[in-house]
């Protein structure tokens, strides 16, 4: 069988870049090592170009295992954009931190290769491989600061929970295979539909598979690793975990939920809905108490995952309209989330890199020191909370919209939780904003020098947040095109 090379061009481009980076790092000496970052950036751009070329056409290769369509392309663009941003916020951090930047960029790129495969994968096997390709480099990156106890602890926790959940998922997969005799998502769906009555054990298997992704998206109760790992690992890695790998998890979850197990939606939808409620409520409530900004962001991202799980709770077998709306809501939210959360981490890095500060109290008077960063943080936090005119509002809007396309009692319950949680969330977002703007700065704070790349990224993301807040059409038009049905 012959391979559609264009379809996998972005993946190839990224892989090649990764190898180049590794090679360059091995051969370059001293400051020349700095070159690896530009190389990585360049490769990413190339990958983006390839992906952009793919926009609009439908391709399938590897016997349908690997599919390219608008849905996949949007996701890939999301990942690659995130990659660019993370490269931007990483540079000075690693250049000055005397970390192993060569390895870092290599691992980062590899991990992203896994991510951009994820939305194209239409087979459990490929999904599994992609998931591991995302995770394993991440394990190492979390432990990047080899001398730091925190870093290695973060790595260990991340690793153990990771492999455990993967093991559970694999066990589930094996059972699913046992029931359906195939690992092709569409095939599984067909088999389940054909089978008629539903075996409890099959449902159990489905849940086990869900666990694997639940870990990636850090949904309660699979979220425990997240705060510790974010706090312990280098901040750019934390940003990457909080945004990109979470998005990857959602890509996979969408695939299995809405393609493979779509016929069983009536069973898993309520469960995922409940998980959504737990996740956002718990995340928000715990975030209230956090004094460390990174942990606060960690819990907030847990809560955000909860919001993104709501649409899963709305799914229903056969109800194409509702399911499409749900998928689009998640997709939209992911994009918005990427923009605002990477931005937030960017600012955190800027502050932390210079002053080593992470405690919330020390953000006091940031506005006087660096209005740009303070402004940026404000915009991102308000957006995370969902206040206009930011993209965050539209993200929530999309979810509510999905919930009300066809109102059910459960949907209403979910809405109420969404409302209450958004208000709770503002408690701690506003707390940060107030500290930055309204409290007096401590003495002897070193001035901030975010550096060019970082400032650029923050500015771009800030502008993006606001522009998309005014004209959400820019993405909502794209996301509304992408429906999984085309992808099936």
């Amino acid at each position: 069988m012959l391979i559609d090379w264009l379809a996998i061009a972005p993946e190839i481009a990224l892989t090649v870049t990764a190898l180049l980076v590794l090679f360059a790092d091995l051969n370059l000496r001293g400051d020349a090592k700095q070159l690896v970052a530009p190389i990585a950036g360049l490769g990413t751009v190339v990958a983006i170009v390839f992906t952009a070329i793919l926009w609009g056409d439908e391709r399938a290769t590897f016997g349908g295992m690997f599919v390219v369509n608008e849905y996949a392309v949007v996701f890939k663009l999301l990942f690659l954009g995130a990659l660019l941003a993370i490269l931007g916020i990483s540079w000075r951090f690693f250049a000055e931190g005397r970390y192993y930047q060569g390895e870092y960029y290599f691992l980062l790129l590899t991990s992203f290769v896994g991510m951009i495969i994820m939305p194209s994968a239409r087979d459990l096997l490929l999904l599994f491989v992609a998931l591991e390709t995302v995770s394993i480099p991440a394990f190492i990156m979390a432990g990047m600061r080899k001398r730091s106890l925190y870093s290695s602890e973060a790595a260990l926790k991340f690793f153990l929970i990771g492999v455990l959940s993967v093991a559970l998922m694999l066990f589930g997969i094996s059972l699913v295979y046992g029931f359906t005799g195939t690992t092709d998502l569409a095939g599984i769906a067909a088999a389940i539909a054909a089978a008629g009555d539903v075996e409890p054990l099959l449902l159990a298997a489905v849940m086990l598979v869900v666990v694997g992704f639940g870990f990636k998206i850090s949904a309660v109760p699979f979220h425990f690793w997240a705060p510790d790992t974010y706090a312990g690992s280098p901040l750019p890695v934390a940003a990457m975990l909080a945004v990109a790998s979470k998005a990857a998890g959602f890509a996979g979850l969408l695939a299995i939920a809405f393609i493979a197990f779509e016929p069983l939606a009536e069973f898993w939808a309520p469960v995922l809905g409940v998980i959504a409620i737990l996740t956002m409520t718990l995340g928000n409530l715990i975030a209230l108490q956090q004094r460390d900004l990174i942990r606060l962001l960690a819990y907030s991202s847990v809560a955000q995952a909860g919001y993104m799980l709501i649409p899963f709770g709305l799914a229903r077998p056969g109800a194409t309209v509702v399911n499409d709306a749900a998928v689009q809501a998640v997709l939209f939210y992911l994009i918005a989330y990427a923009v605002m959360n990477i931005g937030a981490f960017g600012v955190a890095i800027a502050v932390h890199r210079r002053t080593g500060i992470r405690s919330l109290r020390d953000y006091a008077g940031l506005a006087q020191q660096s209005p740009l960063m303070a402004m940026g943080m404000t915009v991102f936090l308000l957006s995370l909370g969902g206040a206009p005119p930011t993209v965050g509002l539209w993200a929530k809007f999309a979810i509510v919209q999905a919930a009300l396309t066809d109102v059910t009692m459960f949907a209403v319950v979910l809405m109420v939780f969404l409302v209450v949680n958004s208000v709770i969330a503002f408690f701690y977002y506003l707390k940060v904003v107030k500290t930055m703007w309204m409290d007096q700065a401590h003495e002897g704070m070193p001035a901030l020098e975010p550096g060019f790349n970082l400032s650029l990224v923050v500015i771009v993301l800030m502008v993006g947040t606001v522009v998309l807040g005014v004209l959400p059409g820019l993405i909502s038009d794209a996301t509304s095109l992408t429906s999984l049905v085309a992808a099936g």
């Binding site: 096997l125 591991e132 106890l149 602890e153 690793f159 153990l160 455990l164 559970l168 094996s174």
Partner: protein, 103 residues
């Protein structure tokens, strides 16, 4: 040959693995328990493949098993590296000691 035997074996291995992961304090043993879980999955897959769908052209079950073995190897490598690093930083591989970060 009946499917019961392999399935029982797999389940038993899996449960042992889970127990080990939760109960054992030594990081290396924890790692080994993880490997046991993965092995149990492989048994499952191969058994299903051979006993339920011998005719499947793609032999996806065994394929999957092969992939898992490969990935498991990689995971084990990474895991050992992390544990080694931990041992360097604090002369112990006891998982209990690893609780700097909480709340």
């Amino acid at each position: 040959m009946s499917l019961v035997g392999p399935l029982l074996l797999a389940t038993f291995l899996f449960c042992v693995g889970v127990y080990g992961l939760i109960a054992r304090r030594n990081a290396v043993l924890v790692l080994i328990s993880v490997e046991m879980m993965l092995v149990s999955v492989n048994i499952n897959l191969v058994a299903f493949q051979n006993l339920l769908f011998p005719a499947e052209a793609a032999v996806s079950g065994q394929m999957f098993a092969l992939f898992i073995i490969a990935v498991a190897a990689a995971e084990a490598g990474v895991g050992l590296a992390i544990i080694l690093n931990l041992f360097r930083n604090r002369a112990s591989v006891n998982v209990d000691d690893v609780d700097l970060m909480r709340w």
